[in-house]
Subunit: 348 residues, 4 copies
Amino acid sequence: MATKLKTAVLGATGYSGLELTRILLRHSRLEKPLLLRRPADNGGASDLADVFPALSGNGGYPLHTLSWPAMKEQGVQLLFLATPHQTSRSVVPQAMAEGLRVIDLSGAWRLKKEQHRAIYNFHDADSATAAEFTEKAVYGLPELNADRVANAALVANPGCYATSVILALAPLLKAGIVDRRRGIVSDSKSGVSGAGKEPTAKTHFVSVADNLSAYSLFTHRHVGEMVEQLGLTAQELIFTPHLLPIPRGILSTIYVHLNRKMAPAGVESCLRTFYSSKRWVRIFQTPTLPQVNFSLHTNYCDLGFCLADDGQRVVLISCLDNLLKGAAGQAVQNMNLMYGWPEDEGLQ
Amino acid sequence: MATKLKTAVLGATGYSGLELTRILLRHSRLEKPLLLRRPADNGGASDLADVFPALSGNGGYPLHTLSWPAMKEQGVQLLFLATPHQTSRSVVPQAMAEGLRVIDLSGAWRLKKEQHRAIYNFHDADSATAAEFTEKAVYGLPELNADRVANAALVANPGCYATSVILALAPLLKAGIVDRRRGIVSDSKSGVSGAGKEPTAKTHFVSVADNLSAYSLFTHRHVGEMVEQLGLTAQELIFTPHLLPIPRGILSTIYVHLNRKMAPAGVESCLRTFYSSKRWVRIFQTPTLPQVNFSLHTNYCDLGFCLADDGQRVVLISCLDNLLKGAAGQAVQNMNLMYGWPEDEGLQ
Amino acid sequence: MATKLKTAVLGATGYSGLELTRILLRHSRLEKPLLLRRPADNGGASDLADVFPALSGNGGYPLHTLSWPAMKEQGVQLLFLATPHQTSRSVVPQAMAEGLRVIDLSGAWRLKKEQHRAIYNFHDADSATAAEFTEKAVYGLPELNADRVANAALVANPGCYATSVILALAPLLKAGIVDRRRGIVSDSKSGVSGAGKEPTAKTHFVSVADNLSAYSLFTHRHVGEMVEQLGLTAQELIFTPHLLPIPRGILSTIYVHLNRKMAPAGVESCLRTFYSSKRWVRIFQTPTLPQVNFSLHTNYCDLGFCLADDGQRVVLISCLDNLLKGAAGQAVQNMNLMYGWPEDEGLQ
Amino acid sequence: MATKLKTAVLGATGYSGLELTRILLRHSRLEKPLLLRRPADNGGASDLADVFPALSGNGGYPLHTLSWPAMKEQGVQLLFLATPHQTSRSVVPQAMAEGLRVIDLSGAWRLKKEQHRAIYNFHDADSATAAEFTEKAVYGLPELNADRVANAALVANPGCYATSVILALAPLLKAGIVDRRRGIVSDSKSGVSGAGKEPTAKTHFVSVADNLSAYSLFTHRHVGEMVEQLGLTAQELIFTPHLLPIPRGILSTIYVHLNRKMAPAGVESCLRTFYSSKRWVRIFQTPTLPQVNFSLHTNYCDLGFCLADDGQRVVLISCLDNLLKGAAGQAVQNMNLMYGWPEDEGLQ
């Protein structure tokens, strides 16, 4: 068997970082990954099991301080970033200079258009370099960009909501059957892990339990990804996220008008054809619709739909696990593409 | 003080029936209500505390078998029906003949148009009488129909989802500022008590917890109420209900295009003016939006909105407690109107 | 009608403070209470509805900075403290000097014995005064200490767990039928609001949901209250609290050995006799046992039990709402006793 | 590689049956298992994905009717029963006659003593045969009975609560350091999947959410297993199960008095020594305690403890996933022992 790949994870102590680490540990093509604290966490825990006691009893998961020479010495070739956006923005130029390939789970490199990027308010030490990597970064949605991911040095792993919405809409939009002038609505709902591990008034159990709330109306940062990848104008898509009283999972209910009358079989065929060879998208057979818990703890994005009697109004349902297909699972799927491995290695 | 009113509740053992009973027991204008089992439950519990042990220790809540002579003897003047649709359809003609006023929490008498009623598949013993009461029944949404409710013999208490959607949309539609050709979407989410007390695979804890699911796409029974009350065609409204992993509460996220550019203050003014003298609708000040738990255990319908930068796309958020403003609370509000009492009597 | 009482609430922005404020607002014997920020929150919200938007739309709930002259000017006679322990410890001497009566919801004045108090590590500016008020403070468990509460200047409102355990055990212990040498176990479980409103890693939704955890084994601060009020030694009681994935409510499962064989009727009679005239304790009839949600949103403490076939081993179940009978409701019950009002005024 | 084993699962449509099927499908030593409907479900779904849509899109999982000739023809050698107790009681004699080895997840064959078995009220067609298999059946708790499991024809897979309690207590009891006369208490809490998939009033979401309830006090069926395996008398153990508002997971809080003073290190050493070579029991280092979600979706039983200052009172915390270590995972662990495979095959 070929030599195994050495990877590192910067930010293993967040929710996505933990899921990622778990997958990397059981991935047959990898050495045990090097786990690095976020720069802001230095002085913190020295073992990942101290942060997540669920890992106890399986031996150690030592956490190290980021050090480029140490990475080189250990032969790290691929670096995962499960870090805040600005941290990723700062770390990537150095990582590139070190000759590493990078899969970044943050929003730092996902957006090509300045108008979309503005919402992040990035501070770049060297704006020319930042512009260069912004240009080079490949948006890591494997179902759309597999070829470019395979050869990428820097993969910008998509946002969880964005993955959910783009995968549902891409087949219909690429087929040219959507009446875009009528506008598209994605009413999306996410579990709380999507809001990150930081304790806030918003993530307090008592605030979330027995509740549902909408937030970031017309202003969510993932909208930029959606419109860029789908070729839409900002006017053509309304995206409303909601906070669900569940730990993980996303369901997007997406409203589309077709520009012609179709039968349900036509719509289903459009979806099935688009994803015919794709391992991690499941199309549900009408009238069964995906539910959040069908794809939990898997790397699937589940798609279903219902067509109105008029043959023109479609409601799409798109579900995924925000920590897997919406983050860590998709990152591993991208790694598999980058190294020519089966797309489901480590993800079954 | 004037003589107190004697009421009866048929179906006190369901979720709405229990909430209703609790309110009636503390309502200052009422005698202790006569509690009646649903006909299908005869032979069942003899006291409501046997069904809901939470009521224990406050004295008895005897459950009786429905008997018209007994009701007459006890001086019952107002009958609440918290019964399945078909039961209400069967019971009302007799109740009317007995000279009772009726507030029916079921869907039996809400719909004027046969095309909407068809979905219920009612079986009427006497179709002429049924048609007569269908005609006479007043749709008991107090914020829209207060005058007619006041004089009604038969009030059809609105559906929970319908209340949520109609109250959000009525101000904009009546003001004529909605571009109806663009279509209206209501993406609504409800707690599990809305599905009733019957144990089913769908209401099993393990099916609902950590989950979210959409259901009844394009086919929910409350759509008829919405379009009849709002004067819409079925084509103009898409309604998608979802089952939330919470016991109670509804949040509707409603998407509307305006037929002119407006400022947020204009939209807010439209809502505030419409509900200026209404006790049980709260308009939230932008950018604060209602959340499900703000109105839980109250009779409020909470409304908020967000207007896109283009001044034409509006997202409305409408929240209420499905067992109160969506059922029992609204029934009491209707009773208060019917007897000329303050609209919040028993509901504070 | 007599002049209404003017009260103030220091710390209205916490969970208990909010519940308390809600009750005081609808209490028939009171003027609208004066709402005061915690000293640490000055500069914070100016209206309680900004902190709890659920209060929106009912007029204003202005929050003021603590000022003794302003309280005097407004005629405040009774001050509720819903403050951290040390804050209460600091504020009470001044309040007493101002001639106010005080009901303190914190743990500052509950414990008579230094050995129990040590766990709080109080810092008193004037230790003689502190000792004096420690001595004078009445432990405000109305079912045990009604007479002393009635005349108290300073009421130390009990802890939520302590209320749950003491009310269950007092009847059996006072009847002398417990074999204390065998040891008593209280395995108690609480909703998350008991941990306070501060966002922490422990109260993050993702940490609590789908989980259960035990904490503070052998070291919880409420044990001191339990043993002092019940006349036990620390060795005779093991208390284990657990964090439940629910917003509110406590269930204690309590294990006791009797020192003689008894029949279930004898145990039930012991409980019923002890609480025969008590409004806010409900004894459930065997074999029905209380559940957490029976007493939610009420001021009841619900008690039930099961006796083993051997007639000596008893399991008691004790349930209450930690924010009501375990905090704000009990505080109002104490106020009612202090002013000679019906014990359920404002609490029905 | 050796020929793969052919297995069958009777009752794949229940919660445990589904978990079991999922593990068997990915187990490297097995052919695809033959999935059989419970006899009572004949005429039901023809594919497991119809019952659990989460399985969709991975190819078919056909469900068959139980047929002994068909099993023989397909070369089935090992039969798993995920069936109601009485069904297992009826099916086992035939399976034994067919020469199959059986792992039964029900309670049918766990109890050796008639006095404990009485609670099940089994009806045996042939009482001599039933007595024979009752005698031959091996209680399949691998950490205690590995050798006997290895050679068993019929393995009675333990109850979920029983596994949790026995694994926590066995080390201390076998070491002879427990003062049994003081009595042992296990206060246990389980998620709702432990109550099975049948929709009932008790498993309705609205009954369980925001709630906690104790049940089956002194009468739970798993007590027989606990006392038989631990060598206790019924008087020496009180077991109280509670229903938690979570889908899965068990936490037992267990109270023990030692018959001598010990240091924490001594207790920890007792636990660690007992489980030193056991793959699926994790001992947590004081003061860290297991929580329910640490072992979810794993086959671990997690143990931790706290010792009082007096060195004699111990509280043990035992957590596991009721569907894995408490059912399907343990069944696979037993299979691994029966066929000489690594104990964690299929379970990592």
